[in-house]
Symmetry: C2
Subunit: 380 residues, 2 copies
């Protein structure tokens, strides 16, 4: 007999399938309207049923954060894969193996040294790697600036070395720090304009640069115009989370991932309810800490998903979570939340919380209440 | 051919076996001198070769944070197991199964409701559970206060219900917030005195309470006298970490867990070296943030383990880490740390960082440089 939300062992990572499908549809439709392809980043879910739903809705391929994700998805039949972390020389043999088996794996680089290593290795093994050049559009992490002299050098090294320069790509990761529509729109435009300019610079130098790939969930949901862009990468939109809610790109109802937990004790004098979801279940991610509303380690909800306003997971040890209440509950906490009570906790960051689990438990609110285990990939 | 530190795929969680064995020996000798048994908490490593080394050194049994750990260790032949999270009624069938198979699994509770659930379930299934009562010695989380009227009620419920009240146990988790020897000694004495007093109160009420179990790594390494205590639980000492180093209970050399990473890029203007260890490898734990020295997401070391003073993992995205330098390195960063350079990063919190990996890679500095995969348990 399949477990239900009332019988499942806790802690467990729950996926609300109705909401997830809504989120997938929302992003795909937006990309369709903007006239660009969607290549979802599967680092959020690392889960084949989720990825299948994204592809069924219209995604053209996937973005991965590890070669293990690429192998896993390729074994499942997904051929078009972008590995969106600058490749190190030591990982090239693994990439080659994937390509030799038929995976259309594309690599990225943001340095002459990296490009040279790809070209040398490709030449030595008679493999014409597909390579994207990573562009820095907002200073938050990796990538070459549009005006960097190295940009054309990297393009030349790849071209001369016989590699296939597919295009340029960027990720406006600083969008996670924003929370106002105008600022999000401006950053989305900056992400687009910078990446398109990088492609133009390469093209003006006489090299082919067919593709322009951008994306983060906040900018993808804020962009007004994506002229010159060929595809968008976004990941966390599939589940959304409290950080995205604070950024302002999803409603409270759109959060599709939560952690099911059980009350294991109380500290009555302090008004604490102790639950069996600590940081091992929630992750240590405190992404809402610097945002407009700090949710601690998560927003506490009733088993049906209703927010318990002002109730949050304020503290977390490895397997203990401490739930506190901004306003005293209607009944004494021992009566209102007796030992064995089941609650759900919405996470700050879906990518980090999901990674604490080996499987999700998916439920469909229209069905029998049964949950189904969906395994997820972890590690490298 | 076994991989070495120079060929292993990155990121990887490295265990320095020589240092780990030193740490195990250090704690075991201390407990032997203080005349108490050691029951290590295996939630830190969740790894059988590590646990075997602890038992070989003299540990009397283990402490676990999940029933999955109990099952895994029992299947390996470890019989004496304390599950140190208050049991919820829903987990009692799983506990019963373990006991029926021969595991001497002991449970804990800190409420009348919890004790009643154990007694009722035990009576119904003709099982005399071994139960410890959890005591709150420092207000940091769960447990009953010594003076709480519920303490004797819980003991009575267990006794009347035919359960085996094994003793009282506490964990001075607030020790992680300290950093001065006198304060640590005082808290260690408080932990001892409170837990012994709880046992005495139960004994004075005419009930048996043979055991007194205390422990956290900082208090275990600070206690001067453990009179009345029968056993100590401690976990993180097996690897130690930067938080423990800040607390002051281990030297820099004693840190036995590190994350092997590879340089994947640079942002020269900012002085950043980008590595392939982000928060997915390090965890989001920022345990040193409020301590005397904030190590960001970790202290950066050369491949041989030497600290690169002032170099830390300042930023972490999912698979990208940003290394910054307090003082400019001797050479330009691109020359000193070219793409492909291997580094090691010491984590804030060994329990959290280990949990990001499905295996450790163990190396012995006296041997050939080969590393050996040690699988670890994750999930519930």
């Amino acid at each position: 007999m399949a477990p239900t939300l009332s019988t499942l062992d806790t802690p467990a990572a729950l996926v609300d399938v109705v909401q997830m499908n809504h989120n997938i549809e929302r992003m795909q439709q937006r990309m369709n309207q903007l006239g660009v392809r969607l290549r979802p980043h599967v680092k959020t879910s690392k889960c084949l049923p989720v990825i299948d739903a994204q592809i069924a809705a219209g995604a053209v391929g996937i973005t991965v954060s590890t070669l293990k994700e690429a192998e896993h998805c390729f074994a499942h039949g997904i051929l078009d894969v972008l590995y969106a972390v600058a490749i190190t020389p030591g990982k090239l043999p693994q990439a080659l193996t994937l390509r030799r088996r038929g995976c259309r794996l594309a690599l990225i680089t943001d340095s002459v040294q990296g490009a040279q290593a790809i070209a040398d290795f490709g030449t030595r093994h008679d493999e014409r790697f597909d390579v994207w050049i990573e562009i820095d559009c907002d200073g938050h992490r990796s990538g070459l600036k549009v005006e960097d002299v190295a940009l054309l050098e990297v393009a030349q090294v790849l071209n001369t070395g016989g590699m296939n320069l597919r295009g340029v790509m960027t990720h406006a990761g600083s969008s996670y720090d924003l929370s106002c529509t105008d600022a999000l729109r401006a950053l989305a435009e900056q992400e687009r304009a910078v990446c398109v300019a990088a492609a133009q610079r390469i093209r003006h130098a006489g090299l082919k640069c067919p593709e322009v790939s951008i994306g983060s969930t906040p900018t993808a949901l804020s962009a007004v115009n994506l002229e010159g862009v060929t595809e968008v990468r976004a990941g966390v939109y599939v589940f959304f989370d409290l950080v995205m809610h604070n950024v302002g790109v999803c409603s409270a109802q759109e959060l599709a991932l939560s952690v099911l937990t059980t009350v294991i004790g109380h500290q009555v004098e302090k008004g604490w309810v102790i639950v069996d979801a600590g940081w091992m279940a929630m992750s240590r991610d405190r992404g809402t800490h610097k945002q407009q509303r700090d949710f601690g380690y998560g927003q506490v909800c009733a088993l049906n998903g209703d927010w318990l306003e002002g109730a949050q997971l304020s503290g977390a040890n490895q397997e203990h979570g401490i739930v506190t209440f901004e306003h005293a509950p209607a009944l004494p906490i021992v009566s209102q939340f007796p030992i064995g009570t089941r609650l759900r906790i919405l996470p700050n960051h879906a990518c980090a919380t999901g990674a604490q689990f080996e499987q999700y438990h998916a439920f469909d609110t229209d069905a029998s209440g049964a949950v189904h285990a969906w395994s997820r990939l972890n590690g490298w």
